[in-house]
Amino acid sequence: MAQTAAQAPAQSLASETGELHLDHLYKHFGAPDAPAAVDGINLAIRPGEFITLLGPSGCGKTTTLRMIAGFEQPSDGKLTLDGEDILGLTPDKRPMSMVFQSYALFPHMSVFDNVAYGLRLKKTPAKTLEQEVNFALASMSLTQYADRAPNQLSGGQQQRVALARAMVMKPKVLLFDEPLSNLDAKLRVQMRTEIRSLQHKLGITSVYVTHDQDEAMTLSDRIVVMRQGRIEQVAPPTEVYRRPASVFVADFIGRANFLEVQNHRVTGDGEARQATVSVLGGMHQVPAHDGVSDAQPATLLVRPESVSVTRIDAVNHAEVQIAGNVGRILNSVFYGSWIEYEVETQDGNITSVVSDPAPEDIMDSGTCVEVRIRQERCWLMPAQD
């Protein structure tokens, strides 16, 4: 929530257009009885908002993006931009630009001509055209490459050209189809930051498809988590991470421990909804999802970083009974900036992550530990169906 507030000034700079509404959008491929690729999606995207469609492959995120772009025709549903129905428009008539996974630069044109392509089609006067293209190239630090052919550029530079080419059109909506997935890890992080700051500056409504949760978390105002053609959750990154709508979302984003919970008691509503659960031999007050009720089975989400472990005093660790909050380390893996323990407990195996570990504190497997969870960081949600 805090994040959206912080972005308010940026959004006020944005144009007041680019409001995109997806209304019961369906897409069937092939036989009508085949499962829908996109199964009735409702989504209201605000002007200037950066929305990420996130999900495993085959969840319908790319199809949704392509329907927005006009490359796919929905089987049913409505699509409006600033209140106007755009389903009747072919892709070239929609005021949108797209950045492709494969960059899709025109290999027979120079960088300048690539960026100028769309403006030339719009019959932009030569002078304006040159100014705008040069500005776009400069803002992507590409000025010196203007006369190069695309295949003389590195992958990162090519992606910048693709971005410049899309931006220069001043579209109402920018579409991104996994634009960073062909880049190496370091470059990806760098481009991520650039895309984000650029979008902030320009305030163009953006829809970004990815299967990379880091990209989704760092770029988005809101994340749309999709699964099997449906939306599982639409929420800002913090909420998706801390208050996932389902076990699927919790599992897909970040790392998670899931503890099966019985005999829980729920109180309160909305933000204040809480539950008393008994795990690891103790009672815990945890925030709970609206869908949790006393009678239904529920799952407790505990993020590894919310689990702490401390060595217990015992002469022979091998003889210690695993019960209550006492567990035994099965695996201990050192990652440098953090260490990860897999701990056997009475409620199943639990992963704990300790950051910035001191070398002398590192525990070997076989060590018995007391396991503690930070209850206010846990999240109780309905068990997976």
Binding site: A69, P91, F106, Q158
Partner: protein, 580 residues
Amino acid sequence: MSLETLQPVAAPAPPPAKKTGKKAAGRRLDPLTKIVIGIVMAILVLLIAYPLVRILTQSFSESGRETLAEMFTSSTNRTIITNTVVLGLLVGAFGTLIGFAFAYAQARLEFKGKKLLHLIALLPIVSPPFAVATAVITLFGRGGLITNKLLGLEYNIYGLTGLTLVLSLSFFPVAYMNLLGMLRSLDPAMDEAASILGANKWKIFRSVTLPMLIPGFASCFLLLFVEAIADLANPLVIGGDFTVLSSRAYIAITGEYDVAAGAAYSLVLLLPGLLVFLVQRYWAERRSVVSVSGKPAGSVRLIRSAAGRIPLLTVVGLIAALIVTIYATVIIGAFTKILGVNNTFTLANYRYVLSGIGSDAMFTTTILALIATPIAGVLGMIMAWLIVRKVRRGRGLLDFFGMLGLAVPGTVLGIGYAVAFNKPFIIGNIQLLPALAGGAGIFGGALAIVMVYVIRSMPSGQRSGVAALQQIDPAIDEASTSLGASSLTTFRTITLPLIRPALLSGLTYAFARAMTTLSPIIFITTPKTKIMTSQILSEVDAGRFGNAFAYCTILIVIVLAVIGLMNLLIRDPKVKTRSR
């Protein structure tokens, strides 16, 4: 190396656009594309469907039905059919073998002069159909330079032997190109795997290489079979008494003026032609185990041992020598009064060819081919674009429709044109089309010849276009669209420039093909429009071999010159075919 332009075209045709996956689905055709489809369809109907339909209606007319009924009952006709099949089988077998020998030597043996051998193997592609036959008669005929003058034999080359020799030599380059492509794309890691498991070179050849090439052999055999049974020029020149279906159809039309019978004979020729085309295209290519996409893991160890090299190189060398001798005969024969009889040097043959009738024919043929080639090229590219990028349902059918011009034997096509376009097309009292072919046709029948060139050449453009387009990321088209380009603008500014190299090599092949084709146009040439190949035929018929040789050399020079020119255009360094 000018002939290398032909390589991509002669390589195995890509299978008809396979599933392009989910992402290509659900594309809606914009009105512009629909109009383009409509226009292309109309052209195809006029250029190929209508003539074929007329062959059918003629064959099933009263007198045509008589011929059809006699096809398998009369013993003469049975002999003709047997002759045709035997010829097809022999040429299929020998052509494939020769092609494989050349391809294997090229791909797997180490020897000097590979490039030269490659060029020699491709020579028959660019030469007119008579060059080989006429030279073979001069060399091996009754008074032949080699058989009679050198060896003192009374040998009769006319008939099945001569035909098999000439056709095998003329058509083996097709098998050579196909098999060479396959051999080169075989993953060397498989050889390495077999060798590390203990197989020696010979064992690898028998148990790994050969089995993987079986679909390739099958498809080459079928291609050559059809080429052989459909050929008309060679049976006329060197067939002697050995009559085949195509020459029978030719006699029926030009000698007996029985168009219906000619149509009926050509119908019998059409059916195996189409069948083999379908089998070859939709079965053999699908069965191919050759992995084209995989990155070769290493390079093949070339065979250096004498035992492996000498036998094959001897065979290949002899055949190459024969080809060189044949073309040397053509060139020398063109400068000789009567080669083998009166060997005095003369320029009379060239004088005859280059002045009067000859220069007329040269000029007309080149002009008509130059008109037809770009039309065929652009049409082929549009077809490829529709097939790969636009049409989803029925793209296989569209592809087949476009390839028909090549699948239909030339003789059949020619007869179809003669039947369809020699008279005005009239329904009721309205004349829909004037006569396009024959002496009464518009432009003296030149239009019909251009039409034949176009429909005959378009498939090679379509084929190379499909191959090129399939390598271009569809996202490039979409990027253009999302930047505001209509579908036609995208084709013009993005697609066409990207497939330009394929277009040019398709055009080159189309031009060579148009210049050297005989069977489809011999039925529709008129005194007003003289075509070189049919002029050569009449020179050969009249026994004026010197003139024929002169024609052939000039034809080859024109084709090579145009190919060279096209090569210069292709060399443009700014053009890159692939994305990224």
